[in-house]
Amino acid sequence: YPVDRAAEDEDSMELVQQYLERYYNLAKDTKAFVRRRDGGPVVDKLREMQKFLGLEVTGKLDSDTLDMMHKPRCGVPDVGDFA
């Protein structure tokens, strides 16, 4: 059972990384993402996303935030450029 949980966690991490890279300009530096997912740019970007989308700003990957990332949406980013 824990193995599933780990796999699920890994999936979430990949979703979060892609979401923050695609819509909130998180630098595309995967290693940094893994090592520093509880602090630094990831927390900042999560905060930015939570603030923009009207969620409670926790900087944490709570269930509301994860639910929001699964919702269908527009592919244009929320911050930064789109060209």
């Binding site: 819509y23 603030k51 989308l53 269908p72 527009c74 244009v76 980013p77 789109f82 060209a83």
Partner: protein, 359 residues
Amino acid sequence: TFPGMPKWRKTHLTYRVMNYTLDLPRDAVDSAIEKALSLWEEVTPLTFSRTDEGEADIKILFAVRDHGDFIPFDGPGKVLGHAYPPGPGIYGDAHFDDDEQWTRDTSGTNLFLVAAHELGHSLGLFHSADPRALMYPVYNAHTDPARLRLSQDDVAGIQSLYGDCPSTPAACDPSLSFDAISTLRGEILFFKDRHFWRKSLRTLEPGFYLISSFWPSLPSGLDAAYEDTSKDIVFVFKGNQFWAVKGTEAQAGYPKSIHTLGFPSTVRKIDAAIFDKEKKKTYFFVGDKYWRFDERRRSMEPGFPREIAEDFPGVDPKVDAAFEAFGFYYFFNGSSQLEFDPNARKVTHSLKGNSWLNC
């Protein structure tokens, strides 16, 4: 807006539907795109025309996965579409992920809702953090497409790029006339075409809004309106129908036919209406005649219609709009206004129609 505020440097734009999803008949796609564009057309000087060949400012495309712009779609769900800010070539274009199930209603992904959002990008709007805005990035499956209107945030955004719609009436235009006037919880609403001025006695400058941004289901170009203060309801008339709203809530069971109020079938529309708080009676003005409705009994009083000139000396037919305030009846005809004292049964002032609008 996008970084650098890109916008179209012209007001007439062309669009072309490059290909069609197989989820919907072609005319359903065309109508969804046309309706989506008309949302933006309503509040800006922009106009759109469709072309079926060659280049267009806005090219609309249905595609899956990799589709030539290095930003591949991702299969069903998640990204529904994307669009580019104004500019040449791919700029201004709107792409829709054809791995979605596009539908006219909300059983799948509603094409009109997504197109209205993406075309906002094509015109230069970026995402909005206002969850009520059409330009909020996340698809809201609970939105009723029939009631979709631009929010104030969307209107402010697009008008910051292109200005207001030229046909918007100006409050201090000396020739301004009104379609209908009503009170609403102590404020006075002056309706004109698709907009209304909202006059609060606490502020000098009236607010100016789209009717649809408060009441999406109400038509524009109203004929008459009045507030039954005892019920906290505003009744709004257009043609042979009338609606009821309580605050911003449209009441169920409307529109109803004006003939349910007791008008003869020969009456096709109402010119103006006044609700008298003291008597709990409503005066309906039609041409050179008027009726009186007993709001308690919810029925038209016998002995009507009567001549307006007979009981409201000095008030010329036809009345465009009317309302009651401070115990006086205010009658509007063209760009002029008469203040009438119902107790003394005489006109006490003759004013400019827009005297309430701080002109």
